[in-house]
């Protein structure tokens, strides 16, 4: 792409093509950080500066109260991800980062679905919830609310099944992940 100082006029299509680097596989980054104010801003800012759109983000305490874990999912070709993890390592409050391999990782998220339900469809929705091992946690005269835990795929599967009834609202936590077997995340 043209140097800032040259006269060449840049076409919008070329600019878009040059910026189009978010095409790789999904990545799950597990980041251990010091439990201090402002740390999440530093981590999130680093992604924003490189034009990464964070897919999901989950933050919570760990077994050690001075340390929190941030789990981030995002799309990216492997090279830019590599740059971002190296830059993350440079943040003074970041203790450890793992780019989790999908086959060696168990990832789960929770979602709440508020679905339109009249008398007829209510039974059908309850049946679907049963198949997906979801739980009905609230019922009103016009809606049913379902709690579901599982992989992102499973949650998206359920979402596509219940859309036909009218999805009033959906809330997802974002994935959390842990390494399989004895190895540490």
């Amino acid at each position: 792409m043209g140097e800032p100082g040259t006269k060449e006029v840049l076409r919008l299509e070329d600019l878009e093509a040059a910026g189009n680097i978010h095409t790789g596989r999904k990545h799950v980054l597990s980041v251990l950080v010091e439990n201090k104010p402002g740390v999440l801003t530093r981590v999130a800012g680093l992604f924003a500066r490189r034009g990464f759109n964070i897919g999901t983000l989950a933050v919570g305490p760990t077994e050690d109260e001075s340390i929190s874990r941030i789990t981030i999912t995002l799309d990216g070709a492997s090279h830019p991800i590599d740059q971002v993890t190296k830059q993350l390592h440079k943040l003074v409050n970041v203790i450890k980062i793992r780019d989790l391999e999908p086959e060696e990782t168990i990832a789960r998220e929770m979602a709440l679905f508020k679905i339109s339900a009249d008398g007829v469809s209510r039974a059908e929705i309850m049946q679907l919830a049963d198949i997906f091992r979801g739980r009905i946690i609230d019922v009103s005269s016009r809606t049913v609310t379902v709690e579901l835990t599982g992989t992102a795929d499973k949650i998206e599967g359920f979402e596509s099944m219940v859309r036909q009834f009218g999805l009033v609202e959906m809330v997802r936590t974002g994935e959390i992940a842990i390494a399989r077997g004895r190895s540490q995340t």
């Binding site: 043209g2 140097e3 800032p4 100082g5 040259t6 006269k7 950080v33 010091e34 104010p37 402002g38 801003t41 530093r42 800012g45 500066r49 590599d82 740059q83 190296k86 830059q87 390592h89 440079k90 943040l91 003074v92 409050n93 970041v94 203790i95 450890k96």
Partner: protein, 560 residues
Amino acid sequence: MRAVDAMMECLKAEGVDAVFGIPGGANLPTYDALYDAGIRSILCRHEQGAGHAAEGYAKASGRVGVALATSGPGATNLVTPIADAMLDSVPTVFITGQVRTDLLGTDGFQEADVMGITMPVIKHSFQVLDPREIPHMIHEAFHVARSGRPGPVLVDIPQDLSRADIPYDPSEAQKVDLPGYKNFAEGNAKQIRIAAKALANARRPILYVGGGVVNGNAAEELTELAVAGGFPVTCTLMGLGAFPGTHEQWVGMLGMHGTRTANYAMDNADLIVAIGARFDDRITGKMSEFAPRAKFVHIDIDPAEISKNVPAHIPIVGDTKLILPKLTAEYRALEADRARMDEWWQQLRRWQEEWPLKFEGPKDGDIPPQRMIQALYSVTGGEAILTSDVGQHQMWTAQHFHFTKPRRWINSGGLGTMGFGLPSAIGAKVAQPDELVVCVAGDGSLVMTCQELATAVEHDVDVKVFIMNNGYLGMVRQWQELFWDKRYSSVDMGSSPDWVKLAEAFGARGMRVDQDADVEDAMREAIGHEGPVVLDVRVRKEENCYPMIPAGAAARDMVG
């Protein structure tokens, strides 16, 4: 003890003998403590000046530079020096006042979220939330600023907390507790051995040296490696002085305005050993055609630099000062035959003969800008610390002044901050009072921070400011001439200000010279004068800085 008094003790324990800054409402307690702390307080005339002075102090001495500012506008004025120190890896600590804790986040008077504003351009920052943390945070700030890849660190202290009475235990305060902060030092022994072998096998090697060798105080170690192997050496703008510019193995600076020999050498090399350098776009030119025949050894203290721009075949992460002697020893042990590089040296010598730096000499007694730098070199014998602003004068100084020692060339490389020269010269002179410090200024740049002349005069900081005055924003004019059909849009600075009068208004001496024959004498007189001098050197107006890799072109396509 008041928290601010404890802070002064911490600064002294860190070896701070001078700080640069301006007091205001939110850092009144800090300045009250500074009043009789035994630390020299340099009152600057703008916080940007204070920040660049702290950088100049750090670059000239290798010690951590400190700048103080109040909240709000004081703090936001530090943003440019912070970003500058980040891009050039300058060890600096910035201590800002902040509004009282009960006003935080309420848009209180002179409140700005300086933590948030500086976050993308800073190595690390500390917001004080408990006054007992202040001594500890000051020491951690210095530790982070100077260790690993150096950089700027901010400590933001709400006014009420800085007045608190706190317990202070010096040894407890100095314990660093940063579990996530790790640095690499030693360098992997196996990688070093592989790099030595690659050097021993290379027929067309070159050492490509950056500011990391200056920062790492590894100039001697670098020279030893270069001499042991008889390798050609080129430096980046930031690396100048890491290797003697008068040495027979020196092939000149590389990059956009580097020598043809250095750039052609990169283009033809079979092995490039990058040492504390980061393959900036001003070095590589067109990336897809950069050094197509070379394998890369990349030695850097920052793992994030490895393979960032150019894939490294042999990466070595660590401190140049520790790695270079090991690499030299491993290389010596291989007893490589120097004759393998004979052809390479013959080629380099041919390029040097064919493409020396050249320019048209004086016409009707006018002063070619390059001549001004040659005159400065001849007058000083190379024995001076030079600072500069950003633009043509910076490039001509880099080309024509032969730096023989590190920490003698202080300029803004990464951020390219106009106005950097004068305040950084003040900082350098405060750090190294026995050295001659000359700011080679651009007329477009100097006007941005010329208020610091008052600082120099008031504090008896004897800096010499030699303006390369061509009445233009010269580098921009050059680009408009070469690439934008000579449409000179807003680059003519006219003849204002009258620099002699301006210097005198600030209480400095003002001088002017416009004949080539008088330049050296005028410089001698300025240097001989006791106290700050501004020498307005009226150089040829429309001279272009060559050679040049045109934007987006490859090194082999240099022009001029």
